[in-house]
Assembly symmetry: C2
Homo-oligomer: 316 residues x 2
């Protein structure tokens, strides 16, 4: 580290519910905080109607994120929109490298969340954004009266079905399990629609079309039978994978799902490094849980800084 | 268990941020849920201005609780206002006894929160409500232009000082540490007032007065010097203790602070028994954290029920 570099007290990677909450907590402690992120809101922004963020009976995901952002902005928080390439620990200080430059910090909170899992089948990559989407937000009206397939059977998939049902009655569901999973309340609403055709025990094996999605090839995983469906759109909601496409500090413990191992208080196995929200191995991926975990990570980072007064002599 | 008794799927003890969130999550799963509590909101209701519940830039604690309650009531949740006396596990089923009756359930989530720690000094008990309070909510205006002492130096104490400062400039702070603790942002606001007299390293050893608080006896814990202060009120904000004044299932693990041991997913060491929020050993006691933990406990209870299909055969 060069002598002229003054490290931040904390760098937060990501600005979903966990990163934003961590930011709010740390700024209220008068610490020097920098948030590095590509967007604000993360997966929360892609939820249609959120009914389980305590305090809001029902709120669209993007509106909830707008409130999170407004809350964060009520403090003066440094935020840069850059892509993180590496986090390295060098002599007790972390170096966070983005495409553009390097930043130094005494602590780091990784709150980079998750991103949608892709199908990984022929035809998918070239048709992304051309009929293939990983959300129904903003794009459901495109499918007015057109056939569309939803891949998946959990809460996100069911919310997508409900959203699409406002515009079309030609909805297919391709679901790897026999029946829909997720909240009963959503299952009931989907079944009540009456026109949704569910293909259980099925997966998409190919997407066909030149400039737009035209047809999907589906396989029944029990019978190995294959069949085709003509569709104009394919909404893929088969879960998420951790957003960890950057170099991590040497020795950081990661579980088999590629999530960062944390203890009850969001500490990783590397002193000064914390993780919160969907990128951590906390079992349940929920907005309210991620927000709570962000607060924990911030308070753990603060405690770590306070326990190392050499870091903070100038400050306290 | 008598043959005629149909147990609930889950009984939640307490209706603070953790209990309410657990209730919302479980009702959305179409489970039979009963909340047993003495009040709604818990400690959250006693916060003056909450600035760190993500999504609400600034909201009074009682207003936040009103929104929690409204959110819970948007579902049909069974709630009884009774005092829990014992939780017992009998042949895989929990029996929750209140003063009035017994309830049976397949799972229990303890979310009974914390209650204010008392001074435990002569004169305190008889003057509770007669000048001694454990909150400034509703009572700050009583002290218009009168001398009042705040015991404690953390966030709650500082919020109380700020609230009292709207009505009186005669504010003493009796604090066991040298300086105020808690968020820098609050410390700055308190110090900016200019008229708050802080007695560091001090504790209250006696409260004097016949029908009302008239005087407090204070001791400096470093010098052992004692002195008296004439005050009309004493606001005690020296932390909280777990609300566990009922019989717990045999063998339940509790830590040295009398908090219930939980893992990262709010499971206790007793199968089917979960704990969430301030009553658990999660280090940080915050509204947003308690809400997140409530969601975790609910999802863990749901997973437990689903893993024991004999409990749910009639349902799924």
């Amino acid at each position: 580290m060069e002598a002229s570099i003054v490290p931040y007290d904390c760098i937060i990677v990501g600005a979903g519910p966990a990163g934003i909450t961590a930011g709010i907590y740390l700024v209220r402690k008068n610490l020097d905080v920098l948030i590095i992120t590509l967007d604000v809101g993360g997966q929360a922004k892609l939820s249609t109607d959120v009914e389980n963020y305590t305090g809001f009976t029902m709120i669209p995901g993007d509106e909830l994120v707008r409130r999170f952002e407004e809350h964060l902005n009520s403090f003066n928080v440094n935020i840069v929109f850059e892509k993180v390439k590496a986090i390295k620990k060098e002599n007790d200080i972390f170096r966070v490298e983005t495409k553009e430059r390097s930043y130094w910090s005494k602590t780091v909170i990784i709150a980079s969340g998750k991103k949608p899992r892709t199908l990984n089948v022929p035809g998918e990559e070239k048709l992304i954004g051309k009929g293939i989407y990983y959300t129904t937000l903003f794009n459901a009206p495109y499918f007015k009266d057109l056939p569309v397939a939803v891949v998946g059977g959990g809460n996100s998939a069911m919310q997508a079905i409900l959203e699409l049902s406002k515009f079309t009655q030609k909805i297919y569901v391709i679901n790897i399990t026999e029946d829909l999973t997720g909240d009963e309340i959503l299952k009931e609403r989907v079944k009540k629609l009456g026109f949704v055709k569910i293909f259980g025990n099925c997966k998409v094996v190919e997407v066909k079309g030149e400039n737009r999605v035209e047809e999907i090839e589906v396989e029944n995983v029990k019978t190995n039978e294959k069949f085709s469906l003509k569709v104009n759109g394919l909404i893929v909601l088969i879960g998420l994978v951790p957003s960890l496409d950057f170099e991590l500090p040497e020795g950081l413990k990661i579980n088999e799902k590629n999530e960062i191992d944390v203890d009850q208080n969001c500490c990783t196995n590397i002193p000064g490094l914390f993780a919160a929200g969907d990128v951590s191995d906390v079992k349940w991926k929920q907005i309210i849980i991620a927000a709570g975990e962000g607060a924990k990570a911030a308070l753990s980072a603060y405690e770590y800084l306070m326990s190392r007064r050499e870091f903070l002599e100038e400050k306290f």
